[in-house]
């Protein structure tokens, strides 16, 4: 139906911004890109009213270099000096107690016993990047990767650091990166959620759903957990004994009642939208299982991802699923490596070698396969792959004995690949022991800004009006993109 002039979805613009309620339900705040109007394009079936899907695709502000993001979250905090941040000076200091200022779970310390890197490093690729022996497969992909060695975050403690990496703030209640991306761009496939999260089989990360929350935005922008077993999405599968034909019959009967009801309320487009949403749900039931049917892949691909090997089966399957999802237009996929607590993730407080061998062993080959597979299908150009945890680890030991390292948010490494990111580059540096970012220091928000920018969004202008402020993922003061890698 035609919208009255001078109004925004039947409401004043301002009220709409405040409430995002009534009228059409959660409509896309298309205004966020400085344009007025609505995207009404989507139709569930020919005879239904337009379903104004809040996740309808939106034009990016700039020509986008990437369409999707796959965020490989190494939960618990992998040690940068044992993975991608090569520190030759650290080896000879192994076991020596030195003066060094650290801040981690165990508080602030001014001395510590150095734990030398527990793996050898070798050079790979044309760029000659030093990579530790934890990642023999990923080593071969370094020319696709841009390394950020001088990231820092505001908290060295999991709870708040996870929130910071996912939502840009250490306080609970803000939308996560995936929510911002879907809010800004919508989804390219109405039959799939726009923001998918895959968790470790040992459980979610600490703070659970807060990590993929839409915070103060409507729930439509929150991450949807995709499961490996059973119904991939909560309530997607019909209960046993309810066939598709039977469900179609139920939906038709429902529509009969609903159409009669809405006939007397023709001004209320919400009623029609609800009818349409059922048709869309019906279609999702058909398409989503196909999207997650990894077994339909050819054996060579399964082998490439390591799905055929117990050690890499789980993460390999998830990486493969991530490719299938972005192939089908899902905007944001996040995969957790590690879950639960302690050594079920990368949080190596006790035995560093055992912990990192375990987690790297389960992820190295699958991630390398993901990069290879995306590239050969021409998807890598439009997909940003992000690797990293909520922080890194200290060069010194946490306890009197053992190789465990405490958390370190003062300097750590992440890498990006694809989506227009310049491969074979390295930006910034930590000090010679890897304790603190010293050169080209980059706050987590610069990483966020860079991801949004590659997607065609302006990180300093992607706003959501809430609590009297134009809120941004990158904070009130904004953040620059990292020019060296775009």
């Amino acid at each position: 139906m035609e919208q009255p002039r001078g109004s925004f979805c039947g409401r004043t613009r301002r009220e709409f911004l405040w409430q995002t309620a009534g009228g059409f339900g959660a409509l896309p705040l298309v205004d966020l890109l400085g344009r007025d109007g609505m995207s009404l394009g989507m139709r569930a079936t020919d005879d239904d009213a337009p379903f104004a899907n809040p996740l309808a695709p939106k034009e990016p502000r700039f020509p986008a270099k990437a369409k999707s993001v796959i965020f490989l979250f190494m939960y618990g905090g992998p040690s940068h000096v044992d993975t991608f941040d090569y520190k030759p000076a650290l080896y000879p200091l192994d076991g020596k107690t030195i003066d060094i200022k650290t801040k981690g779970r165990g508080g602030t310390k001014s001395q510590g016993r150095v734990v030398g890197p527990k793996w050898k490093f070798q050079q790979y690729g044309e760029c000659g990047k030093w990579v530790s022996d934890l990642f023999p497969h990923l080593g071969k992909q370094v020319d696709k990767m841009a390394f950020l060695h001088s990231l820092y975050a505001e908290s060295p403690l999991h709870g708040s650091a996870m929130l910071m990496m996912n939502s840009g703030r250490i306080l609970s209640g803000a939308p996560s990166l995936g929510s911002w991306v879907n809010y800004g761009l919508g989804s390219m496939n109405e039959n799939l959620p726009g923001y998918v999260v895959m968790l470790d089989e040992t459980g979610g990360p600490i703070s659970g759903a807060k990590n993929w929350s839409s915070g103060y935005m409507p729930a439509v922008y929150q991450g949807t957990v995709l499961r490996g077993k059973g119904s991939p999405i909560l309530d997607l599968a019909r209960p046993d004994g309810l066939s598709e034909a039977q469900q179609r019959r139920l939906l038709d009967a429902m529509k009969g009642f609903n159409q009669e009801h809405s006939a007397q309320r023709s001004d209320n487009s919400e009623l029609l939208a609800r009818i349409a949403s059922y048709e869309l749900a019906y279609k999702m039931q058909r398409h989503a299982p196909e999207a997650v049917d990894w077994q339909s892949e050819d054996p060579k691909t399964l082998e490439l991802y390591g799905v055929d090997v117990p050690e890499t089966h789980e993460f390999g399957r998830k990486c493969l699923l991530a490719r299938r999802l972005v192939e089908r237009g899902v905007r944001f996929v996040q995969i957790y490596s590690g879950g639960n607590h302690n050594d079920a993730n990368w949080d190596a407080h006790g035995d560093l070698e055992k912990n990192h061998n375990y987690h790297a062993g389960r992820t190295d080959k699958p991630i390398a396969a993901l990069l290879t597979d995306l590239e050969r299908r021409g998807l890598l150009d439009e997909t940003i792959v992000v690797w990293g945890g909520e922080f890194g680890r200290q060069p010194t030991a946490e306890y009197a004995e053992g190789t465990g390292r405490d958390h370190n948010s003062a300097g750590f490494t992440m890498w990006l690949a694809g989506g227009g990111i310049r491969g074979g580059t390295s930006v910034g540096a930590t000090d010679e022991l890897g304790n603190e970012a010293i050169e080209r220091r980059m706050h987590v928000k610069h990483l966020h800004a860079t991801i949004l920018y590659q997607l065609g969004l302006d990180p300093n202008d992607l706003t959501y009006f809430y609590a009297g402020l134009d809120q941004k993922l990158v904070g009130v003061q904004g953040a620059d993109v990292i020019p060296e890698i775009v």
Partner: protein
Amino acid sequence: MAAPRSKKSGITTLGIATLVVAAAWQDAPTKPSDGETTRWCYRPLTRPAVPEGSARQPIDRFIDARLARDGLQPMPAADRGELLRRLHYDLVGLPPTPEEVAAFVADEHPLAYERKVDELLASPQYGVHQARRWLDLVRWAETDSYERDRNKDGAWHYRDFVVDAMNEDMPFDRFVTLQLAGDEVRDASRRDRIATGFLHLGIRDDEPTDPEQAVYDDLDGMADTTGRVFLGISMGCARCHDHKKDPLPSEDYYRFLAFFENLAPYKVGGGNSITPRNFVQTETVDEGPDGNHARIANFERERAELRERIARRAARVTSSATALKMTSALREGLVSDHSRIETGDETGLTVHGATVHEDTRGPYLHFDGLDDWARIPRKVQDDFTIAFRFRTEHAASGAGFHRWHHGDGLVDGEVPGIVQDFGTSILAGGRISAGCGDPEISIVSQPGYDDGAWHEVAFTRERASGRIALYLDGALCAEAIASKAALTTPQELRLGRLAGTNHFFDGDLGDVRIYDRVLTDREITMLTLGTDASTEVEALVEASDGAEAARALRADVQAWTRVTKPEVKTMTFLCAKERRGELAKSYVRIRGNVHSKGKQVEPGFPRMLGDSAMPEIVPAQRSSGRRLALAKWICSDDNPLTARVIANRIWQQHFGRGIVRTPNEFGKLGELPTHPKLLDWLATELRTSGWSLKQLRRTILLSDAYRRSSRAASSQLAKDPQNDAFWRFDPRRLTAEEIRDSILAINGTIDLRLGGPSVYPTMPAEVLATSSRPEAAWGTSSERDAARRSLYIFVKRSLLMPFLTAFDLADTDATCPVRFVTTQPTQALTMLNSDFLHEEAGKFARRLEQEAETLEDRLRRGLSLVMQRPVKQREVERARTLYTSLVHDHALTDALALERVCLVFLNLNEFIYLD
């Protein structure tokens, strides 16, 4: 900008009357002012004249005047069935039954509608529904968020307070006052103190990177919520800089924050801990004649009698010489004796702040609970007994936990992590706990040892068997099998402090003795009864008074170990507690950084609301009196915001939108009122009624405007598409809770009981798996409890019920003034496929089978329950066609076919939307 004012002239009233521009104050959308005038909401609240007109109700006169001016025709009254449904959902959040609909439609009494309004206002379910609306505002949740997402102990008492307050129609000014300062009001009752739980509902990081900043984030949450919820002004942005739109300098923010700044911080010290004793209260509750008081009195009498009998028998045979000998027996294996509190190398005792006092039994240490402690070397690791006496009447840490390392340290060697340590502590509720690590095992006493009397503690540990045992006043309280390792991790033992969490003991501690052996039961009895309880005395009695007398003595001595303190009933709740000692000093914190102190400030009201009124702060016995001063100002007749803000919310709750569409923001960032005079009329009406919300609702519900049809005439729609003028009633979707509660009401299984701890309906396994500890993430409830109203479902910030979140449950982390109303396919998936819907559809079908004989009657009954109006034959036929097709074409059994039809019924738009 701030209104100019003259201090010399002594103008202290709010706003400046001369600045009111008459033209901008008509009852029409107010034009944005040019910056020279005071914003409408800061002007004094006066009762506007009611416009002339034919309507009976003043509300309608205001609305009619605007309709006439805009050339709009109001819609006629809604039909009676629709109206009843509207009333039900607005007042109690539940559907009317078909019988109620029929009776109401047939009731021709002129006062039928008014009676129905009164009936629903008096329903206990009214409080449940209105409480949920209030909880949206105060960021209601029962956990803290972040890594551990800890439970807020006893938070549900606050929820029950809100339900009761709504049902009792507690005057709103009282309701506000109790939430801010229930502990500071005169003769504060327990319930008054429970109301201050309001202050503690926010998110709280138990392991923040900057603990001091985190405490201020928490205080900011209180101040900001207070500003938005009670005053409709957002002050949060002034935390970092002067407000960009409203005349609120940063300094005013910190003056406002100062009202809360003397509250004890939720977290003291580092580590992953919080300090519950700073905001959680555990008290014994007496339950009538057989209550705690009576049982404790019995217990004390019994012990006194035993003690006396033992002493009498022993006195006949003991002399000072034998007594001396016995005492030395208890010295065997005594490796650490601190009963004389001698510091220095010999004893290894070092005292940090604690002071030495003395009573008839000798010296003891007093710990202030803030930072006093002492330490002694750890001389034991295998077998040991730790004995001491203590007394306290102050609440301790660790509510809800029965682990020793969550409490305030007594004699303790806790070392964080999975290590070989041990110790004793006092927990909230006055429970004594002891335990050791690797594996971590705690044993715990009955509550109530924080009664201000001296108590004797003995904690024994035998390495070979792993047995640990805890004795209170000579009686065995608890025992367990624990670690068999050498407990060597702690370097030292601390007195009055739990290491790692800095939980300081608040009370007295003395006679600390540590043995490197396990004392026998009898020896432990001797710790309290002295040599009277020894075997030597028993032998002397036998020699002197015969075997019978010795047996009697032995029986009494043994009885002593078994007369344990009775289990006392306690309750735990959140409440305001202030810092002790010096008042907190307040500063402007530059750019919101707590470490960057600027100018010192005193508590004060925002100057844009009348600066020179200095708060009258009267210190109370245990608090600064600051919050009460704030509450008085918020509720004072001079405050123009409070009444307007709540009147607007009540209007919003019945009309779907406020007269000001931004209910938490009346300042310049917000919308202007569509009917400013009507709002002021409602606000003054509320005040003159003694702040009765029920009366205000009644007035609103009796207006013609409320009773209008929700249908839209296209001519009106074209002129006023947003219904700014209230020419019709805006239809709305039910809220998440209303949908769930209605489903349960319709299938007849809803449990309408009020109050009590929250319940845990089944959480889908898929959703549990998202938690980092799936097995410990959620509780269980009986089927009956699981069918309670949604208000009573436990609200865990990191794990919310998916059904409720799908339908736009309020955000839990910040105040939520207006809920989102989204329409999305995931809702449809939940309504079509979820276990919950299928189970409820099944119950619905069983109900229909019970209540009606024929298929036609069942279908008609089902539709009338869902639609809450007379059902048309055509509709029954449509349902029958579906049913028949399910049986014939899809080969469903009759029972299953009816379930599927019920599923369709529960999915109907007519059920989910309200006219």
